[in-house]
């Protein structure tokens, strides 16, 4: 075992990139849950986004277009969830599970002829002299654009929820849909938009895995990241900045266990690979005592007939 091969600066730099898929998916789901909807289909939307983005990127040669395609793919799949839960008033837990199962199959079908294909590379953003600062440069300022877009989305969600009227309405719908309806807000329309936003974010998160992290297409490649993102929203008590913190924590663990595998630690690879999931469970246990922050109408079906 040789731990000296793990360079702490490179580890911290890789952490930001490793955290991005979880960060994107969890931020999207946070908005959905603040609107009072529990969408367990994050994993499904991520994997569909992963392949949709991959297909677009390979065929157009542009990773940027790939991410737009991924957002569209995730959002289109989430439309199914909108129809099931907002129009057909189906159980949200069952619909979300269905979305994940369907998404896993659909993505495998879409990706058949893309196994083994190399996607176009997305270069790191050129931040000029900032990237040359010792230590901080490689950690903070030498990443691809999506890392920063992810941070911008978190900041955007935070300001929208906290300081704008739209954010206030969204939270009202999530806390008490009957009261929001009585005030004249279109509960279903607002929820549908939130779900679409969540789908687009999850799709981009998935594409980050298939286009940048891995980068290639394999079936089921999101491997539970969507579920970890769901856990992260609980961990974050439905607050955007805590999602960021949590995503970096998980990104760090993922990256550290990969580095430990590389360094040939005496622990078998399988047990290292378990660690992100086990840590998720431990975090859930330590934080689940405080449920007071959960949106009041989370997971409840809204039907305005009386």
């Amino acid at each position: 075992m040789d731990l000296s091969v793990i360079n702490p600066i490179l580890l911290l730099a890789a952490l930001m990139s490793a955290a991005t898929p979880i960060l994107l998916a969890a931020t999207g789901e946070l908005v959905v849950e603040r609107a009072g909807v529990l969408n367990l289909g994050v994993e499904g939307m991520m994997i569909v986004g992963a392949i949709a983005g991959f297909i677009v990127a390979v065929n157009t040669g542009s990773p940027a277009l790939g991410f737009i395609g991924a957002a569209a793919g995730g959002a289109v799949l989430s439309l199914l969830f909108v129809f099931l839960t907002q129009v057909a008033l189906a159980n949200q837990v069952a619909s979300g599970l269905g979305l994940t199962l369907f998404g896993l199959g659909l993505s495998a079908l879409m990706g058949q002829s893309y196994v083994g294909v190399k996607p176009p590379r997305m270069g790191d953003l050129n931040l000029g002299p900032l990237s040359d600062i010792p230590v901080l440069g490689p950690i903070l300022f030498s990443h691809d654009a999506m890392v920063y877009i992810g941070l911008l989305i978190v900041a955007g969600v935070w300001t929208t929820l906290k300081y704008t009227r739209a954010g206030l309405v969204l939270r009202a719908v999530g806390e008490n849909h009957d009261a929001a309806h009585a005030l004249g807000y279109k509960v279903k329309r607002i929820r549908a938009l939130a779900i679409l936003f969540g789908g687009a974010c999850a799709g981009m998160g998935g594409a980050y895995i298939s286009l940048i992290r891995v980068p290639q297409w394999t079936e089921g490649m999101t491997a539970g990241v969507g579920w970890i993102a769901l856990a992260l929203v609980v961990f974050a008590s439905w607050k955007p900045w805590r999602v960021l913190l949590g995503a970096y924590l998980f990104g760090g663990i993922t990256q550290l266990q990969l580095n430990l595998q590389g360094a040939g630690v005496a622990i078998p690879v399988e047990y290292l690979a378990m660690s992100p999931y086990i840590v998720t469970i431990i975090v859930l246990v330590t934080l689940s005592a405080d449920k007071s922050r959960a949106p009041g109408s989370l997971g409840r079906i809204f039907h305005a007939s009386h």
């Binding site: 008033l89 269905g98 399988e270």
Partner: protein
């Protein structure tokens, strides 16, 4: 304008009709999907639903119906108990894996001893493996209020890693020329879950599935505990006032579903699969969720739904080899079924009304 009006009572007729409508809708839209993939839609649907039952080689495929249906029914039956009470165990795949590992390990410890008690011991250990694995989300929920959906699902990934560690390490066949995977239990007479009547597909797992269905039926319709499950799902507050102990209910539902999933895994590894390998699990634990819903969370319904889902597996295999239909197409097909079911389910609790809604 079309709008939904809540029914005073859920419609019984619609509750029975929606699964059939969902199957029909899936056939139509599945056919369209196959047409998009460049296959003859009618031919594909016939291959999936007709060939295994009445085709030329039906004598070979019919027994497969039991082999594939048994684990689905066994797992779905346990899940349905929890789903009815609003307790969501979606990690059956992990419990299935742990049952298989525990069951196989119990036999491999005594290899090559031949004794009558080995198979019963495997059954006990297999059930125990699934039970213990399901107790983790159960105890965490009862003790700390942790979300059982996320914990049980996280444990699927942990179990998958544990499975590959076992098939590459502790349980690896010492005479396997270095290939991953355990000894083949089909060649170990005392541990082999062989067909009870040869050529029928009827193995002990099928028997267990039927017993589970009967037990669940009696439990839900005749027993106090079954009543507690139904009340908790339909009116949690009423259940509380009625003296239902929610913690005990959580442990019972998760424990039972884990036990049954573990048994399914154990019967599979000792019979049709034969050995512990890295890719031993094929997703029965997830498909069983569809089976549970398609069967309306009712024991008899689950039995029928399990048969139907087994049919799509077998028909899918045939379509794959004869028509070159991709394996993933069947997965999409099964997912579609769940969607149509959930979407049409609205008709059970609501009535469609046409005409302008009055201003409230």
């Amino acid at each position: 304008m079309m709008r939904l009006e809540k029914r005073p009572q859920p419609s019984r007729a619609m509750a029975l009709a929606t699964p059939l409508l969902a199957v029909l809708a899936t056939m139509v839209f599945g056919g369209l999907l196959f047409a998009v993939l460049g296959e003859d839609p009618v031919q594909s649907i016939l291959t999936i639903f007709w060939q295994p039952l009445f085709g030329e080689f039906a004598f070979y495929y019919r027994p497969q119906l039991l082999v594939k249906g048994a684990p689905l029914v066994l797992i779905a039956m346990g899940l349905a108990l929890g789903f009815r009470a609003g307790i969501w165990n979606i990690g059956a795949e992990g419990q299935y894996i742990m049952g298989a590992i525990f069951g196989a390990a119990a036999a491999l410890v005594f290899y090559p001893l031949e004794a009558w008690w080995i198979f019963p011991l495997m059954v006990i250990c297999g059930g125990l493996g699934g039970f213990l694995w399901a107790m983790i989300p159960g105890l965490l929920k009862v003790k700390f209020g942790t979300n059982e959906i996320l914990v049980s699902l996280m444990l699927v990934y942990v179990a998958e890693q544990f499975l590959s560690s076992m098939s590459l390490g502790l349980l690896k066949n010492p005479e396997g020329y270095g290939f991953p995977g355990s000894r083949n239990l089909q060649q170990y007479a005392s541990a082999h879950n062989a067909e009870i009547v040869s050529g029928t597909g009827m193995h002990w797992g099928v028997v267990a599935a039927f017993i589970a269905v009967i037990f669940a039926y009696v439990l839900l319709t005749r027993h106090r505990l079954g009543f507690a499950i139904r009340v908790t799902g339909e009116a949690p507050r009423a259940a509380k006032f009625g003296g239902v102990n929610p913690a005990r209910l959580v442990l019972f539902c998760l424990g039972t579903s884990g036990l049954l999933a573990g048994l399914a895994g154990m019967f599979e590894v000792a019979g049709p699969a034969g050995q512990i390998t890295i890719d031993f699990n094929v997703g029965y634990g997830f498909t069983a969720i569809i089976v549970a819903f398609l069967g309306r969370l009712h024991p008899v319904g689950i039995l029928l739904a399990g048969g139907l889902m087994a049919l799509t597996y077998i028909g899918g295999d045939i379509a794959q080899s004869q028509l070159g239909l991709p394996a993933a197409a069947i997965q999409v097909f099964q997912g579609m079924l769940l969607f149509f079911l959930l979407a049409l389910d609205v008709l059970t609790n609501y009535r469609l009304r046409f005409g302008a809604a009055e201003v409230a």
